[in-house]
């Protein structure tokens, strides 16, 4: 926070009120400031855009496109070859390893014999996006013979009688297009006592690397002790031991300090490709330095001893160890000390630093004034804006929780900072992310998920007005409102009945149409059933007709003839089976009475239905139910005849119809449901 200087309020209010106001003011400005501070550090570590590409930050762009005019594709190769030659021209520096011996207590008897040590450099690169595993390259750099179990006093220190290996350092620094993670020195010791087993060990890629490097001069490194020997194997003739030394750590610092090393080796099971028999986790254990007894640990494990230093050949001076890549501490970045060449044109070009004064306004009163600064660094994110226009633009766009007003000052500029009341801090991304379940699921990278299609504008080059400082003079911003550039469906829609959000994969199909719902159908059937003055047959026909019309959604009077014919096609046989012929005829007559269909339609439909009756199976059914009806009504009729003289007028009823040849339809005096059985 820029230095708080003085409170330039000169009003005579009670002190406590002033204090309270001041507290409120501090609190109000604190939250956005904290947010912007946090964003500052996050953008330094993982930036989302580059400041120099913004149109108002031309001052930061140090590249120019001048070279594009004279560029030719052929010169690319020349550039690379020149670079590599320059590397080779440097005075060669070497990593010198002098092997003093291979110690293994299990090989007591073979003292004085010779083992062969082969050294490899394994280059581990960073995995590129489309590769399935991190690339590994292994290069052999030399083979030496070392003594097995040499006694003390023999060949210590220098290069005496012992094997010496020099590795030029350019092996460790050339990257050849890959982003190198680290280099590892792998030593393979094979016992050559027996001639037929002296074959070269198979070059295997090792999954587990456990090595211990002990610098006898520096005992502050924690040790990982391993039980390298498997229970059932024993060192013997024809076996191979291997050990690894990692050269560079995570930050690119070289781990191999000059000194004497004892490298613990692990037995590899001969020529078979079986790697570690036991899992590293089982065997590895942390031990603290105090409790470690160095003698005890190394007693049973085969050890390769050597001396290592960095030299240029034939001289004793030690030169700088190579670095894998330069370090970039956070402070360096934050200090923004990168030099930029000033661009001559544009308002955004770097200017001579002027006086910039920040005045914090709260409740329409000026609360704080800061010290004048002589640079154009943003107080919240320490960004060097190089010019006043750029600074104001940056403040207005990147720190939208505040409003900034520019007031020209004789010596420079005064910027009034106030809280932006109209700031919309709501989530600006895909609203599906907020309702995804389980929480946070939308942001996970656990595999492809379908998302609502939205369109985000990535690059936009609208016509911009000439940059001038006048746009900051007033408070209201009319033309420069940050327009949301997301087009398309960026809203969260919900289902009608369940109010659950519509998932992206459900967007294809519109399921919200209320056409012919199940509940409406059920409800009409229930309501029709509730009629008390309509007989069963009528109710049944009403239900069938209503369902038919609701299904096809006939809305016009002109569609009724079509509705009738479709009804007969789909429900004709059912009508006859349920003995609803007369009911249907009545229905036709009613439709005609209301003027919905003409007589021709009535005639055609009845004819159609009668044709259906010709079907022998239908006839059988009809005949059976007609017989039944006759029998039951005859009984009732006869009982009636005996009791009263007045004729009971026939209530609406249904009847069967015999074949077309029979004339007349019998009338029954009582209604009886003929369809129930």
């Amino acid at each position: 926070m820029p230095q708080k200087k003085k409170d330039c309020l000169g009003v005579d209010k009670p002190v406590s009120e002033v204090q309270a106001d001041h507290e409120l003011f501090l609190q109000a400005f604190e939250k956005p400031t904290q947010i912007y501070r946090y964003l500052r550090s996050r953008n330094v570590l993982s930036p989302i855009f580059l400041q120099r590409t913004l149109y108002y930050m031309r001052g930061r762009m140090s590249r120019s496109h001048k070279n594009r005019m004279s560029f030719k594709l052929d010169c690319l190769l020349d550039k690379v070859t020149q670079k590599s030659e320059r590397q080779n021209e440097r005075p060669a520096s070497y990593l010198n390893i002098a092997f003093t011996g291979f110690h293994d207590d299990k090989l007591e008897g073979v003292c004085g014999d010779v083992a062969r040590v082969e050294t490899f450099i394994v280059k581990m690169c960073h995995k590129k996006r489309k590769e399935s595993s991190a690339p590994l390259m292994q290069v052999s750099v030399g083979t030496q013979d070392v003594n097995i179990n040499p006694s003390e006093g023999e060949g210590g220190g220098g290069c005496g009688r012992n094997a010496c290996l020099s590795i030029p350092t350019h092996n460790f620094t050339s990257s050849n297009g890959h982003q190198v993670k680290s280099y590892v020195l792998v030593f393979r010791v094979s016992l050559v006592h027996d001639q037929e087993n002296a074959g070269e060990p198979v070059v295997k890629r090792r999954r587990v690397g456990r090595s211990a490097s002990q610098d006898s001069q520096d005992s502050n490194i924690p040790l990982i002790s391993t039980n390298a020997i498997n229970g059932d194997s024993h060192g013997g003739v024809g076996s191979t031991y291997a050990g690894e030394l990692v050269m560079f750590d995570r930050h690119g610092r070289c781990l191999l300090t000059p000194g004497q090393y004892e490298l613990m080796l692990e037995l590899q099971a001969g020529e078979t490709t079986q790697l570690c028999k036991s899992s590293p986790k089982k065997n590895a254990s942390w031990e603290s330095i105090d409790t470690l007894k160095f003698d005890g640990i190394f007693n049973n494990i085969p050890v390769l001893k050597f001396t290592l230093n960095w030299n240029s050949e034939n001289s004793t001076s030690v030169i700088e160890r190579p670095r894998l890549r330069p370090l970039k501490p956070l402070d360096v970045v934050l200090a923004n000390s990168a030099s930029t060449k000033p661009k001559p044109q544009g308002v955004a070009s770097p200017e001579a630093p002027q006086l910039v004064l920040y005045q914090f306004v709260y409740n329409n009163n000026s609360r704080q004034q800061t010290e004048a600064r002589r640079d154009f660094h943003c107080p919240w994110c320490s960004l060097n804006c190089m010019a006043l226009y750029s600074l104001l633009k940056h403040l207005k766009l990147c720190h939208a929780r505040f409003t900034f007003t520019y007031v020209p000052h004789p010596k420079g500029a005064r910027i009034d900072v106030a809280l932006n009341e109209c700031y919309d801090g709501s989530y600006a991304g895909n609203p599906q992310d907020l309702v995804a379940m389980p929480a946070g699921f939308a942001f996970s990278r656990s595999g492809p998920t379908r998302r609502t299609p939205t369109t985000s504008v990535l690059v936009c080059r609208p016509k911009r007005p000439k940059p001038s400082l006048s746009e900051f003079l007033e408070q209201d911003d009319d033309f420069d409102l940050p327009r949301s550039y997301i087009l398309g469906h960026n809203r969260l829609y919900h289902h009608t009945m369940t109010c659950l959000p519509i998932q992206p994969h459900e967007l294809d199909e519109d399921s919200e149409g209320e056409h012919d719902s199940e509940w409406v159908r059920q409800k009409t059937q229930m309501m029709i059933d509730e009629f008390s003055d309509v007989n069963e047959g009528e109710k049944e026909l009403m239900k069938m007709w209503n369902l038919h019309v609701m299904k096809y959604n006939f809305v016009g009077d002109s569609q009724i003839p079509l509705a009738c014919s479709m009804f007969l096609e789909s429900h004709g046989t059912e009508l006859l089976r349920k003995s609803l012929y007369r009911n249907f005829v009545l229905h036709m007559v009613s439709l005609h009475d209301f003027g919905l269909i003409g007589t021709g339609v009535v005639y055609k439909c009845i004819l159609h239905l009668q044709n259906k009756m010709q079907d022998p199976s239908v006839q059988k059914q009809l005949a059976a139910s007609w017989e039944e009806q006759r029998r039951s009504s005859k009984k009732l009729f006869s009982s009636y005849n005996g009791s009263s003289s007045s004729f009971v007028s026939p209530v609406k009823q249904e009847s069967t119809c015999s074949s077309a040849t029979s004339n007349g339809l019998t009338e029954e005096s009582k209604s009886s449901p003929t369809k129930s059985k």
């Binding site: 929480a439 379908r450 109010c499 998932q503 994969h505 199940e518 059920q522 409800k523």
Partner: protein, 315 residues
């Protein structure tokens, strides 16, 4: 606790300060066996807490208004029933995060649904509300059973259509003849139903005639078995509870008294009532709850006090 005191174990606070929790329900995660707690309230959001990790692991939105009660299915710990001020009931499968069914619509409740219960076998739901009605919904229909099954295997990312939630508009039984006011609490008692309104009575009744066993949709008969009377409980949203074995019934009134009935008798007319009082307990008792063995009763009051009553064995 065993020594007779009460100790707070965990406390959860909703990020929205406006939230008021009205109801909780216990269940367990069928995969891990760990207990989970479902809570819901005025915002209409159901939150599921995993007590082992002390986190809210799931939330369910969709109800249009406050949620008045939550109940878990007795046979399937993944099925959660929620009852809301938006006149509807919803059944959720909380393992697969699917809305299985909604019970609302043309013949469902016409006002806030206040309480619900699922019977011991998990075959029927009874619900009651501000429209004075009590409705019974069957869970054993073909469509319900098949939808519940389907909710376990439905894969949203592979499906073209949304899940076919059952829109149950028609209850299997409905009555408004038991109470004359808001019905704010209902529980199953075997095949009978206990329900109360703000008329100082808990009514034990059954749908249909006394000997009738099946539910009819438009049945207008109800048989009242017994009425448990008490005094001074004329405000609504006061709940009674039964113990796990349905042998004891307890309800509190607005003066801080608790009435307890022993139901383990053959003749309902002989149900004896005892009252529990304390001079400091004077605020309305909103809910009561029994421990699993039935020997501890907890009552909670409007003045944010919790009362523990232990059953003492009679000499």
């Amino acid at each position: 606790m065993d020594d007779g005191s009460i100790k707070i174990l965990q406390c959860y606070s909703d990020p929205d300060p406006e939230e008021n929790f009205y109801t909780v329900a216990w269940s367990y995660d069928t995969e891990t066996g760990r207990p989970i707690l479902a809570a819901a309230g005025s915002r209409g959001v159901i939150r599921i807490f995993s007590l082992a990790t002390m986190q809210c692991v799931k939330h369910f939105i969709g109800h249009g208004n406050a949620i008045n009660e939550l109940k878990f299915h007795p046979r399937d710990p993944n099925l959660l029933l929620s009852v809301s001020k938006d006149h509807a009931l919803r059944m959720w499968n909380i393992r697969t995060d699917i809305l299985v069914a909604t019970f609302g619509g043309v013949e469902a409740h016409r006002d806030e649904v206040l309480s619900t219960d699922i019977d011991v076998e998990g075959t029927c739901i009874v619900s009651c509300g501000m429209d004075h009605s009590l409705k019974i919904w069957k869970l054993t229909t073909d469509i319900m059973l098949s939808t519940i099954n389907q909710s376990y295997t439905f894969n949203p990312s592979r499906a073209v259509r949304p899940f076919p939630t059952v829109q149950q508009n028609f209850p299997d039984f409905s009555t408004r003849d038991i109470h004359r006011n808001y019905v704010d609490c209902v529980r199953w008692l075997g095949r009978f139903i206990l329900s109360k309104s703000c008329e100082n009575t808990i009514v034990c009744w059954k749908p249909g005639l006394l000997n009738q066993t099946e539910l009819k949709h438009n049945d207008t008969n109800v048989t009242i078995i017994h009425k448990f009377d008490y005094k001074e409980c004329e405000i609504w949203f006061m709940r009674f509870s039964l113990d796990y074995w349905q042998k004891v019934l307890a309800v509190g009134n607005q003066q801080g008294r608790t009435y307890v009935w022993d139901l383990d008798i053959s003749d309902p007319a002989q149900a004896r009532c005892s009252t529990l009082t304390h001079p400091k307990c004077v605020a309305p008792i909103r809910q009561t709850a029994f421990s699993r063995k039935g020997n501890i009763l907890i009552t909670v009051c409007d003045d944010a006090t919790i009362w523990r009553w232990d059953r003492v064995a009679q000499q």
